[in-house]
Amino acid sequence: MIAVGGRQILAAVNPAAAAQGIATGMPLADALSFLPGLLTRPAELAEDAAALRRLAEWCGRYSPWTAPDGADGIKIETTGSAHLWGGEAGLAADLSGRLARQGIAHRVAIADTLGAAWAVARFAASEAEEGACKLPVKTGKTGGIATSLVVAPGETRAALAPLPIAALRLDPAIVEGLHRVGLRRVGEALAMPRDALARRFGDTVARRLDQALDDLPEPLSPLGEVPTRRVRLSLPEPIADPADLARAAERLTADLVARLEREGMGARRLDLGFHRVDGRVEHIRIGTARPSRDPAHLAKLLTGKLDTIDPGLGIEDVILAAFAVEPLAAEQIEMTGNSAAAGGSGPLFDRIGAKLGLDALARLEPRASHIPERASVAVPVETGCRPPPKPFPVSTGEGSAHRARVGAGTISEPQKSPRPVRLFQPPEPVEAFWVLPDDPPFRFTWRRRTHRIAQADGPERIAEEWWRPDGQLVGGAGAPDAIRDYYRVEDASGRRFWLFRAGLPGAPPPRWFVHGIFA
């Protein structure tokens, strides 16, 4: 039951109600006058859509190309996978049987084109149920709520011809228009010249006809990403024991690795899907720092996350899909048995990456920049083969440090001055007290603690890198903040901080920040 324009409309009816003459789309008031005892519930459209999506995902056991279709259908591209079930009829029977066991009323149709399958599932099936089937299709019955139909290859035109014109996936308005000119069956429209149809009703009718007859390709955009490699394990009996799940994962990993080895590839991202008997799919997703096809390593990553899987009443299918696949040369094993791969640290960080996320891992790399926060950046570890990083310029705390008389305004050489071990990003504002605007403060308050400054070095002036597009400091180009004067200060207790004054001295009001702490 849904509310449309202030009226309440029946969104769906069960077979018992349908038998009493209640139909989908009927206003609630009409339905209640037909059948006063009718029980209704508000429609949960979002829930329905989510359930349909889950079911489409479950259909992934038949093919990676699956997607929900409208509010009540699922499309599956079965090309290339039907032979696993002994042909299309076998696939349709398997799918229908499993859906029936889950108590899902359904009609399955397999045809050459998406359009034909859509039409046959929605229109031919109802006629087949009524026993009035004169169509060139094979019918399989698995119970009162289930039908499966397979249109033999090349029979599309014959299968479509007797169906009502609405089977062409058209707007109700266009269907009505076609009815007005006397076109009621698909066959009648097929006989019409296409350009006449296009003139009268627009491109839609002609396009739908072409799509149904495979004259116009209609690619299926699948639910989610299509894996590049996929291996599947169907179990004769549902399994739920964690040890069994681990064994299944190991077996699939071995299968996938064998394939990757033949192709000289390695996987970067894997998705292990556990298809439960109740139609839900539970996933384990892992990523590796470098392409890998080490079965023990990959299996360990996968089984390490098995405790996140709820097997419910049991798992009937397990599918392992590889998403990011990259060339990986056969590994040279040194005579000592150690892998000679550069870095060699991939697998070691994968277990950490798998638990905390690969973006949790980073390396510090030096950059040629005067701006402190840009001189050292954290780059993800996973970025493939990186050139050996340049050595960091060593800033010696003493000796070579340029020490200027406080307030003398000398600008130190970059990187010659000491740098803190902790750097705050962004710099944290402090409340500072100073006597002369050119001097460092004598006292500052940061994080509710007041520090009395005993000694100070500086300033070291760091200006924005105006020649770089991203070189601007706080406040943007031309703003007074484009210049920072850094001071190394020591408070009475001996802690050493890196303070800076944003803006030119004298340009009121100067603002002070603490940018880091020295060890």
Binding site: N338, S339, A341, S345, G346, P347, L348, F349, R351, I352, L356, A360, L361, A362, R363, L364, P366, P372, A375, S376, A378, V381, P389, K390, P391, F392, V394, S395, T396, G397, E398, R403, A404, V406, P418, R419, P420, V421, R422, L423, F424, Q425, L436, D439, P441, F442, R449, I453, A454, Q455, A456, D457, E490, S493, G494, R495, R496, I517, F518, A519
Partner: protein, 259 residues
């Protein structure tokens, strides 16, 4: 055999019975004789868990502790140093100044202490695989006894040195955790103290007070040192030995007078 030597031999035997592996991996001398003398084996035990604390507000910021840890980690082998932390405030150039080349660091960022402790242990357990690791460093607030013991065992088994920087969120957590025992072989407390005035005004030679709060088989002790430089070595502050009379600090600078 004199009684002194037999006593030393006996102590050595007892130590070996107590901790068969304690000094198996050797030691890392600080090359500061006063410190090395105080430590069993003449240096910081390798393949063991060491705890490093800050003082005062630095218990939250962990700056001095990071500098001290960098000085140690930089001198333990030349492999990767895994540094696990919660805040993203570790600054490469600053570490380089204390003897740890930041290019050797692999940072692991995690939101919880437990994840950091897990990552440390995981990495220690996998230490024998290729891609040599020199040391692991973790910044944690809480270090439960059991987690510490696991880390200590993993470090012993792998021969990789583990440093845990205790970094507390606030004074309450610090007060709560400071007194707790831990399974680490040693516990250090590092405090930045006023620098040794040089001949010029401004900050002189930066110094730490290094306290060995706890060490199995040794007395606790305290030293004043000059901070670890680019070689990663601390040197005993000249104040302890003979040094020329300290020049008086520049008596009154304008901004100090104002304070």
């Amino acid at each position: 055999m004199s009684s002194a030597t037999s006593l030393v031999a006996l102590q050595d035997r007892i130590r070996r019975i107590e901790r068969p592996n304690a000094l198996r991996c050797g030691v890392l001398p600080f090359r500061a004789p006063a410190i090395d003398r105080a430590l069993p084996g003449g240096g910081l035990a390798l393949g063991a868990l060491h705890e490093i604390l800050g003082t005062g507000a630095d218990e939250e910021d962990g700056a001095a502790a990071a500098g001290f840890a960098a000085g140690i980690a930089g001198r333990v082998g030349d492999g990767i140093v895994l540094w696990c932390l919660k805040q993203r405030d570790l600054y490469g150039p600053g570490l380089a100044a204390h003897g740890l080349d930041p290019a050797r660091i692999v940072l692991v960022r995690a939101a919880r202490d437990d994840d950091i402790l897990w990552a440390l242990e995981e990495r220690l357990r996998a230490a024998n695989s290729p891609g040599g690791i020199a040391a692991v460093v973790g910044e944690v607030g809480r270090l439960p006894m059991i987690a510490g013991r696991r880390l200590q065992l993993a470090a012993e088994r792998s021969g990789v040195t583990a440093l845990v920087l205790r970094r507390w969120r606030n004074g309450a957590e610090a007060a709560d955790e400071r007194a707790r025992p831990s399974a680490a072989l040693t516990r250090w407390r590092i405090a930045a103290i006023p620098s040794l005035p040089g001949s010029e005004p401004g900050i002189g030679t930066p110094r730490w007070r290094v306290e060995l709060l706890r060490c199995r088989g040794a007395e606790s002790a305290e030293w004043t040192v000059e901070v670890a430089d680019a070689t990663g070595l601390v040197s005993l502050s000249a104040e302890l030995g003979d040094r020329p009379a300290a020049p008086q600090r520049v008596a009154a600078e304008p901004w100090r007078r104002a304070g």
